[in-house]
Amino acid sequence: MKIIADTGKCVGAGQCVLTEPALFDQSEDDGTVIVLDDQPEGELIEKAREAVHICPSQALSLQE
């Protein structure tokens, strides 16, 4: 599984960072998403799914 982030769509709400700071961070400059680990394993897979579901601008997707 791979996390795909579209920084063009990202609105920097930070919900992914709140969901799992081990997977996501935000740019200090404009707040957009930085994926720290795009191939999560184990428990982090569920967290990645939650982040995709909650993202307000559908900037995140998963490639299974």
Binding site: A13, T19, D25, Q26, S27, D29, D30, T32, H53
Partner: protein, 397 residues
């Protein structure tokens, strides 16, 4: 087509949306309503449809458009007003939001935690040293977010009375268009002067840093920054204040859920999400104007028609939340739309979350005997405001 319902609708219970929300959501989930100025708009009530509308570019946030649905008689904004990010659409919106977004990242908010904790402790000291019963709104709910946002922006807190008085006028539905306009101009004018003073030697506060950043980008304009400052100031104190008061009432009415966060503060953030869902205090802020025909939830909406994406109806939608009318801090409520959805989702949401988390943890730990000093039926809920809340909250301990 005639509208069956008029908007805004009246509540019959302080803890629940107007009864018509459920009726509409279950029978005719996207339906026409009459507006205070005689116009009409569609209300969208199901969780999935609300998310769809708020994340689709065919629905515009341009509140200055003449066809934009007006929720108060006489409208709110004038043509030619300085625009802010909340009234912009793509492609203009992204850069405007991103210019200030770096100030509100999760990491930046975490860095504020110790200072927010200090502010909360000082206000609780003052509450405990003050008269019994005390008013929680005046002692805690309003000063905490006001102090925090004033400090972030670099606005002297001594001016907070001025802002609170004029903000209260802005959000009260009974305010006349002239009074609303005057309040708007007063705050905006003050901020322009304050920013002018910061220009020569920009201080290390949000407004000062914005002056530097926007100058570097070659896009700095004083009036535009004053408009952004206005938005952050107003959005930053009234909303969080109301959530503090309302959630305190909800915790005190649900002692087993209060006991759960006291036993395990790790649960407080989940409780905050549930409170946000349960109250959804800015229900009707998410109005949009359809700019291209689009079908949502089986209903054709035409270009030129107004849409109200009702977050409160969506957050009580049983399709998204089981037993949606119950308060349950452990339900997992993070997919609520209390902060809106789509590109305009609340910029300050992580500041709000942290303020609420710190307030609840600290208030109930330091004042374990806190109780209401009035019957719930007698509490002055803000039924007449576009942001729900409490005017006063008498408490004792």
């Amino acid at each position: 087509m005639t509208a069956v319902h008029e908007f805004p609708m009246t509540r019959t219970c302080p803890f629940a949306p107007p009864a018509a929300y459920e009726e509409i959501r279950e029978k005719d989930p996207i339906t026409r309503v009459g507006l205070p100025d005689g116009g009409q708009a569609w209300v969208v009530t199901r969780h999935e449809d609300v998310r769809t509308v708020l994340n689709d570019r065919r629905f515009s946030a341009d509140r200055q458009h003449p066809d934009f649905p007006q929720l108060v008689k006489g409208g709110f904004r004038r043509q030619g007003d300085e625009r802010t990010m909340i009234t912009m659409d793509a492609p203009e919106h992204g850069p405007a939001r991103k210019a200030v977004l770096g100030e509100f990242t999760v990491r930046r908010m975490e860095a504020l935690r110790p200072r927010i904790q200090e502010i909360v402790d000082e206000q609780i000291d003052a509450l405990l040293a003050g008269p019994k019963p005390g008013d929680l709104v005046e002692a805690l709910s309003l000063p905490v977010p006001s102090l925090v946002i004033c400090e972030m922006l670099g606005v002297p807190y001594a001016e907070h009375d001025f802002f609170q008085t004029h903000t209260a006028k802005l959000i009260k539905r009974s305010t006349t268009p002239e009074e609303r306009r005057a309040a708007f101009d007063m705050i905006r004018g003050y901020l322009e002067e304050l920013i002018a003073e910061k220009e020569e030697n920009p201080p290390d506060d949000l407004l000062g840093r914005q002056i530097v950043k926007l100058r570097e980008d070659g896009t700095y304009r004083r009036a535009s920054l004053a408009a952004t400052g206005f938005l952050l100031l107003v959005a930053g104190h009234e909303t969080t204040a109301n959530m503090i008061s309302l959630s305190t009432v909800a915790f005190l009415r649900n002692p087993e859920q209060l006991a759960a966060i006291k036993a395990d503060p790790g649960k407080t953030l989940d409780a905050v999400e549930e409170m946000l869902r349960y109250w959804t205090i800015v229900d009707a802020a998410t109005a949009r104007l359809c700019v291209e025909d689009v079908e949502v939830g089986g209903q054709l909406i035409r270009a030129g028609e107004g849409v109200l994406a009702l977050g409160y109806a969506a957050n009580r939608d049983p399709r998204a939340f089981e037993n949606a009318d119950e308060l349950d801090i452990e339900r997992g409520a993070r997919h609520h739309v209390a902060f809106g959805f789509g590109p305009h989702q609340c910029l300050g949401q992580n500041l709000a979350r942290m303020e609420l988390q710190i307030v609840f943890d600290t208030l109930f730990r330091r004042v374990p005997t806190l109780e209401l000093a009035a019957d719930v039926d007698d509490l002055p809920f803000k039924d007449d405001a576009n942001i729900y809340g409490l005017y006063r909250l008498p408490v004792t301990w």
